[in-house]
Symmetry: C2
Subunit: 362 residues, 2 copies
């Protein structure tokens, strides 16, 4: 799946599905809605096609090099929920945003805290991010001003994509996670820290996040992650019964952030305190329905060690310790022209990349 | 438009639009996306049809009594944003949720605070609301428990519906409001106060709101609200330039809450501190695009006087002063079987109602 080999894309698959309109649609949503048996059958059929010598002549014309296609957003996002499930990230941010309090708020260890993000702002990897404008007020300023964000950041996250929907009033227990979720994407939850810090009380982040969220160009099916499943970190206190379980869904997925070609950070999704099944169980515990195309992201994934943080605000200690890049260039936050690439893999399995270049405010 | 007369519904209109598929679709979204000239032309055509004596025979068969139809959600919700634009409501809630602080947080008078709600949970008036379950922790409890909300509430809001979309990076100035917004709906943002109070720091409300949001069964076009426009309350401090203006969009819309047939509250949308055009200008000021079907609600509308509050938590002073209903029945929060009806009108123009009955947790 690496380097110069060919890869089947949803578009390429469509051409192989003779007689079906399913993969000719502009998104995967209709396929995702078919549910687990159909996902399995399609995978078996595709594997059979590409592995069968007798089919080679029929298949070859439909294998298109990744470099020759323009990737599109793989699914139409229904609702977008963003969690806050990394203990290390929540601790790091709590220290910076509320320096006079305990970094973890009292609810954090009892439930996977989350908010709804803007579904309409989710774009595919490769899309430029325009530096957002907004209101921000530095602590030493008397009043806010409006202008381009001075503290633009990335957030490295793992998101899951719902396939099989539910009805209102039908919670999804942790055990049913894989019946409803098709797979995962890598997510860059771009964040304007100055806008966020000023706006976020009491209703949470909004314009500091809503300008753009970038996701990888393909969804990696859960089936392919079976070998990456590990025991998640122990939880203390023990979760309440509706959130208990799902601890065998830690994911040994290596994460990397690159800025202008230089590696900034190396982490791993296995450090997440709240697992993906727990996130979904929580989100539906009040009876909320999920729809095909719902995207639920983990929140920034940061590890316990220096150099494993998933955002610049953590890597630079709120901008006070700028990173020194080659040629003596420093970075506290992102500058116009910077290119951020997030990557994730589980051994030889690439979960894709999320690439985006910062362009100046219009 | 009152009592036993007939009313045209989107469904009825569809049957009149000979040769067009536009109104045969299950939602208004395609029509909304056509933009202001098409909205205007359609209105002129419909008015001509129903007012023209010569068309009476052709039109009559398509006028269906409201009582004979089952109303559906009038539009497919893209993103749902919920503001917090009533000074009196924000003050009342600040006092209850943060009794040790100034009720209005420092950002409140500078920008219309908002969060994203769950678009997939928006339902049409008449849909029962199932009492949500969730985590809640009373101040005197050591640990949270999971179970049916003990403090279920309504919130009376006015929402606007976007018709003409924008591209990423295209803010909508206050002056362009009516070019993008088709009309308004009445909204009941059902709220589980105990779940909300426990979960909402630091990322805002989520499961305390996401179980259900009910809207009126029709969208009232902005055109019909021209006569209701009044000057909005003065703002202090003066808004920053990107939020300046839009003060002629105060709306003299009378609001009413009824619980089990008894009037609980009478308010008016003209008390809103941040107007609808200011809300849209803020939501897009960072470059966020809007899509056809975006719903942006005002937040609870409460007036300055006792009996004009738009939620039970305010009417009952956080449950400490239960309402006494006929026959000596009291209510601090909603009980199973209660029916809440919200109504709004601008003189003889009915903006519809939002009706919902509370049913027990499953």
């Amino acid at each position: 799946m690496s380097g110069g080999c060919t890869r089947t894309t949803p578009v390429a698959s469509a051409q192989m599905l003779d007689g079906s309109q399913l993969f000719a649609e502009p998104s995967l949503n209709s396929f995702l809605a078919l549910g687990r048996p159909a996902w399995h059958a399609t995978r078996e059929w595709l594997l059979d096609l590409v592995q069968n010598e007798n089919e080679r002549d029929a298949v070859e014309p439909h294998l298109i090099p990744l470099s020759a296609v323009t990737m599109q957003l793989p699914f139409e996002v229904a609702d977008y929920v963003d969690f806050y499930s990394s203990l290390e990230h929540a601790t790091n941010l709590g220290r910076m945003f509320r320096p006079d309090q305990e970094p973890l708020l009292p609810n954090w260890r009892w439930l996977p805290v989350a908010y709804h993000g803007r579904a309409g702002s989710v774009v595919v990897s490769g899309t430029d991010v325009v530096r957002p404008q907004g209101q921000r007020k530095a602590p030493d300023e008397d009043a806010p001003t409006f202008g381009p964000s001075r503290r633009l950041d990335f957030e490295l996250e793992l998101g899951f994509v719902v396939g099989t929907p539910t009805e209102l009033g039908e919670p999804v227990p942790v055990e049913a996670f894989a019946d409803h979720v098709f797979g995962v994407v890598l997510v860059n939850d771009w964040s304007a820290r100055d806008i966020q810090a000023w706006e976020y009380v009491p209703l949470g982040p909004n314009l500091g996040k809503s300008f753009q969220t970038s996701v990888s160009a393909w969804v990696t099916p859960l089936t392919l992650l079976e070998d990456a499943r590990v025991e998640a970190p122990a939880q203390d206190p023990a979760p309440l019964p509706h959130l208990a379980g799902g601890r065998d869904w830690g994911l040994d997925v290596a994460l990397e952030v690159e800025l202008n070609g230089e590696a900034l950070s190396h982490g791993n999704a296995r450090t997440l305190y709240w697992t993906l099944p727990q996130q979904l169980a929580h989100a539906t515990s009040n009876g909320s329905a999920v729809r095909t195309g719902d995207l639920m992201a983990s929140g920034t994934i940061s590890g316990p060690d220096r150099g494993s943080e998933g955002s610049l605000i953590e890597l630079t200690r709120n901008g006070t310790e700028p990173l020194v890049l080659p040629d003596g260039v420093t970075r506290a936050f992102l500058e116009d022209g910077d290119e951020v690439v997030l990557r994730a893999n589980a051994g030889s399995l690439e979960l894709g990349e999320v690439r985006g270049r910062v362009v100046a405010s219009i």
